[in-house]
Each structure stands twice: as structure tokens, then as C-alpha cells.
């Protein structure tokens, strides 16, 4: 994340549009890791080999659209993830995978209720220096989470990753996915509910672990 004195993403993008290559390098340094991870997780293990192509194509779109870019309505980061999301959809379609962009189609109208019972046997997530046993648990949890993400529809997966991994606010998620706020909120809730269920069913609680 940029320091308080550092120029904003929008300022850097404006500088790059004005001819400053150094501004682009700063932008790239800020967002390359998060964007690469987002693309990789959206594509999933089956299309891991196409991560580099989609990632590069997303940044080239930024380069080509620098003159047209206007910081109106959405921040640079939101716009960047929108470009990446479009490229991922294109890649999934090209690969022949069936896409369901209507995330609520199969989910019924059941309201989402926060369910914390699944985590009661899990260690506290915010421990600063986890023990080796805890570390092994979270690594297994991470592996399991990636497997659970594979089972989510793309809209819910992208909403969850943008909100939980990349730290976008919900309205930014809505902007990035080009949907309404409530739609984004609903997608996120369904994604979290499914993931909790998936994680609780497959990951045994840590013996003697801490509680919330």
C-alpha cells in the first residue's frame, strides 16, 4: 500500500498518460502482486498456465488506454481489476469452460445467515507469531480454501477475492464487477456462506486450539 506522502494511483496514472514511464513503474510495483494473485485464483489450477498471459494482457490494456483514462467514478485500482476480470472471462470462454455469470441462479432465495459454529474449534486468526502447529493448520486451511474457491461460481469467487484478499470496499467491488451494490453484496454473502460450509466440512478443528 502507498505511504501517505506517496502520490495516489490516479495521480500516477495521470503522470504516465503525460509521458512519465517512472509513474507506471510505481503503479506496477504497487499492484503487480495482488493483481497476479487475483488472476491466478480466478483462473484456478486448471488454467494456471494462462495466468501470465492474462496478467500481461491486463497491463497492456492499461498502457494502451492511458490517454483515454479518466479518474471519474472509479479509482485506478478498481479499473485495473475490472480489466483483469474481463480478461479472465475471455480466457475462460476461450478455454471452453462453462461460465455462469448469473451467480444467484442456482442459489435460491435463502437469506444468508452468519454462521460462526464452523470456526469454533479453529485457532485465532490474528495471532502474531503462530506456533508451528498453528502454521501447519493455516497452511492446510489455505490449500482447502483454494479448493473451495474452485467450487464457487465466477461472480461469487471474484467478489470474495476482491473483498477479502485485495481489500476493496464493497462499492469498489461493485464497480469492479460492474454490478449494483446490492448484487455485489449478495454475491459476497453467498460466497462466504459456501466457503465456511466447505471449510468446516473438510478441515478438522485444531485440537486444543484457541477460540474466537
Amino acid at each position: 500500500m502507498p505511504t501517505p506522502d506517496a502520490p495516489t494511483d490516479d495521480a500516477l496514472m495521470a503522470a504516465y498518460a503525460g509521458g512519465s514511464a517512472a509513474a507506471f513503474e510505481q503503479l506496477y510495483a504497487r499492484h503487480q502482486a495482488g493483481l497476479y494473485r487475483f488472476v491466478r485464483r480466478l483462473l484456478g489450477p486448471a488454467l494456471n498456465a494462462q495466468t501470465d498471459e492474462v496478467f500481461q494482457d491486463t497491463w497492456l490494456r492499461v498502457v494502451q488506454a492511458r490517454a483515454r483514462w479518466q479518474p471519474q467514478g472509479a479509482s485506478f485500482r478498481t479499473w485495473l481489476y475490472t480489466l483483469a476480470h474481463h480478461r479472465v472471462i475471455d480466457m475462460l470462454r476461450r478455454s471452453g469452460r462453462e461460465l455462469s455469470l448469473d451467480a444467484q441462479a442456482d442459489d435460491g432465495d435463502a437469506p444468508w445467515e452468519p454462521d460462526t459454529t464452523a470456526w469454533q474449534g479453529w485457532p485465532a486468526p490474528a495471532s502474531a507469531a503462530p506456533q508451528s502447529e498453528e502454521l501447519a493448520f493455516w497452511r492446510r486451511a489455505g490449500e482447502q480454501l483454494l479448493a473451495c474457491l474452485e467450487q464457487l461460481p465466477l461472480p461469487q469467487r471474484s467478489a470474495f477475492l476482491l473483498h477479502h484478499d485485495d481489500g476493496l470496499a464493497l462499492d469498489e467491488v461493485a464497480h469492479a464487477l460492474e454490478v449494483g451494490f446490492e448484487t455485489a453484496k449478495t454475491r459476497l454473502r453467498y460466497a462466504m456462506s459456501k466457503l465456511r460450509t466447505c471449510m468446516g466440512a473438510h478441515l478438522a478443528p485444531l485440537t486444543g486450539g484457541g477460540t474466537r
Binding site: Q32, W138, H163, H164, R196
Partner: protein, 353 residues
């Protein structure tokens, strides 16, 4: 905008699981990052290159390199080139001479003369007496005129201007003569020239341009018949040859004034546009025929024409007759009405002060 109340809380366990996922530290390969950054820099350089050409000459060059500007500039250049080429073109040597409208009117009112080729068998005494080198000299003069039309642009322009001035002078003289002939429309038009025998002894090497000038001189003579009709008509068959003789004597004076000088009693003087106009006037007014009387010693205005300092011809204008005596040749004469002779004398005196 969302508010903290609307923002659903992030699940800390799921975030922690994401943070410990096997791909949490995934990053793009260094080669991929280098390629992306290089492409980003190149895009900025390409865009900045045209803006960097701030030098005025470079800006002018880039402006000229635009297709619409280049096409317009090329069009202007081609138009200028064509215009300069047309300006330098000696029109009087490449285009056929057109006759004034008055000639057409005069010809249409009179019986149409049969086109008669130049009969060499009835050549005038002047033509017969002329030495063979005279025709060669005329041909050389024509060749010289053609060569002189080729050199420098300035000389050609001056030459073209002089010719244009001569043409204007001819037109003015023709108008004057037409006006006079209209005032004295008394006698019937002269009989048409009868067909002449085919040329037998004419030199085939005679330049075509000289032929064209001779024919034009004949037609000009026909146009001036209205002015000369008060004078006794010459023998019809001899007229074309006489016109050739007159043209061979006077046409070079009009075409190459820089080589000619004149003398009337006093010192030798350079050819002037006024005298050129008078010669054109005389050319339109007379019909030469073999001289049966010698020019009188008194009572005539004598004009000597010299070419390159050598006496070429002597012109004597009396009260009712004009005589033309080429150097070394037999004289020809042209009867004039007293009024015409008086007008010509007055004009000659005015043109040769």
C-alpha cells in the same frame, strides 16, 4: 457510497486461510515484469517522439509530410511549372497564324479565290534576279530565329514581347486600313486570282516556315485589297509571286528588328516600333508588280533598310507609286492612290524623324 453499516465484515478466518494459501506469495516472473515495463516505456517514447521535434524546421517538415499538405503543394508546383513552360513557349512559331476577322469578311464578300500554289515559272524579276544565296540566307535566318528562341529564359521573354508588340502593331494597322477602305468603297472588288500553274522550279528545300509566312502574306494582301482597290489591279497570275517577293524583303524587318537599321537622308538609325508599324501598314496597302518605270530622282521619300549594316533594300514612296529595290536585284513597284500615298508618306515621316 457504502457506509460502515452496509459494509459486511470480512471473515478473519477466511482471510487468514487466504494469507496462508500456497499461492499467497505468487508473483509474476521477472521476465514478464521486465517485458511489461519495457512495453510501457516504449509506448511513452513513441508518443513523445513527435512532440520532441520542437525545432521549427522539423515542425515544418512534419507539416509538409502530411498527405493533404503534400498533395496541395505538389499541385501548386505542377501548376507553376506548366505556367512557366507555357509562358516561355514561342507561340508564333508553333501555332498557325490566325487571320483577323476582317480578312474573313472581305473574302466572303468577294469571290473565293482558288488556292494557288506558288508558281515559280512566273516569278517576279526581283525573285529571279535574287542571287541563290538569298534564299539560303532566308532559310538560315529562319533557322537562326528558331535557335534564338531556345536560349535563356529572359531573352525568350523579350523576344515574345517584341513579337506580341509587332502583332499588336499589325492589328492596329489593319484596323486603320479597314476603316479607310470602308470610307472609300467605290470600285468593285478585284477579280479573283485564277488558278496558277503547278510549281515546277521551286526549290524543295525551302523552309516550311517561310512558306507559311508567304501564304500569310498573300492572305494579308487579300485582306488589304479594300484599301488598294482604287489603284490599278496587277496581273492576276503575277500577284502571288509578287507577294512572295515583298514578303521576302520586308518580313525579316518585322521579325528581326534588332538586326535592322534604317536611313532616311540623315544618319543610320536603329529600327523602331513606329517604323515597324509603318512597314506593316505598307505591307497591307500595296500590291507589288514588276517595275516598268524607274523611280524618279525627285519628289519621293527614300528609305534605305540595312541589315547587319549592309544595304538590303531601298524603298521609295512617290505621290502615286511605291518602289522597292532589293540590293543587287530588280526593282518592283506598286501603284497607289494619291490619298494612300499621302497617308503613307505622312506616316513614314512621322515614324522616321
Amino acid at each position: 457510497m457504502t457506509t460502515p453499516h452496509d459494509e459486511p465484515p470480512r471473515d478473519a478466518w477466511l482471510r487468514e486461510a487466504l494469507r496462508h494459501a500456497p499461492d499467497a506469495d505468487a508473483a509474476p516472473p521477472a521476465e514478464l515484469s521486465a517485458a511489461i515495463l519495457r512495453q510501457a516505456r516504449d509506448a511513452v517514447k513513441v508518443a513523445a517522439r513527435p512532440a520532441a521535434s520542437s525545432h521549427p524546421l522539423l515542425q515544418l517538415w512534419s507539416w509538409l509530410a502530411r498527405p493533404p499538405v503534400a498533395a496541395g503543394f505538389a499541385t501548386v508546383m505542377v501548376a507553376t511549372l506548366v505556367g512557366v513552360m507555357w509562358w516561355d513557349k514561342p507561340l508564333d512559331e508553333t501555332l498557325p497564324r490566325s487571320e483577323p476577322p476582317a480578312a474573313t469578311v472581305a473574302q466572303s464578300s468577294a469571290p473565293a479565290p482558288t488556292p494557288a500554289p506558288a508558281p515559280a515559272s512566273i516569278a517576279t524579276p526581283l525573285a529571279e534576279a535574287a542571287p541563290p544565296h538569298a534564299q539560303e540566307e532566308a532559310a538560315k535566318a529562319t533557322t537562326r530565329a528558331a535557335k534564338e528562341a531556345a536560349p535563356a529564359t529572359t531573352a525568350r521573354r523579350e523576344d515574345a514581347r517584341e513579337r506580341a508588340s509587332t502583332e499588336r502593331a499589325r492589328s492596329i494597322a489593319s484596323d486603320e486600313l479597314r476603316a479607310r477602305s470602308a470610307a472609300s468603297a467605290a470600285a468593285p472588288p478585284p477579280p479573283a486570282a485564277s488558278p496558277a500553274p503547278a510549281p515546277a522550279n521551286e526549290s524543295p528545300a525551302k523552309p516550311a516556315i517561310a512558306d507559311a509566312r508567304d501564304d500569310a502574306a498573300v492572305q494579308r494582301g487579300a485582306a488589304a485589297q479594300g484599301f488598294a482597290k482604287s489603284a490599278p489591279a496587277p496581273a492576276p497570275a503575277a500577284a502571288p509571286a509578287q507577294r512572295r517577293q515583298e514578303a521576302a524583303t520586308l518580313t525579316p524587318v518585322i521579325d528581326q528588328p534588332e538586326r535592322w537599321t534604317w536611313q532616311r537622308g540623315g544618319a543610320e538609325q536603329a529600327m523602331t516600333p513606329g517604323l515597324q508599324r509603318w512597314l506593316v501598314q505598307l505591307d497591307r496597302a500595296v500590291r507589288w508588280q514588276p517595275a516598268d518605270t524607274a523611280p524618279p530622282a525627285d519628289g519621293v521619300v527614300v528609305l534605305r533598310l540595312r541589315r547587319d549594316g549592309t544595304l538590303h533594300a531601298t524603298l521609295q514612296l512617290g505621290s502615286d507609286t511605291a518602289w522597292l529595290t532589293p540590293a543587287g536585284g530588280a526593282p518592283v513597284m506598286a501603284p497607289l492612290s494619291p490619298a494612300t500615298a499621302a497617308v503613307l508618306q505622312a506616316a513614314l515621316i512621322a515614324a522616321t524623324p
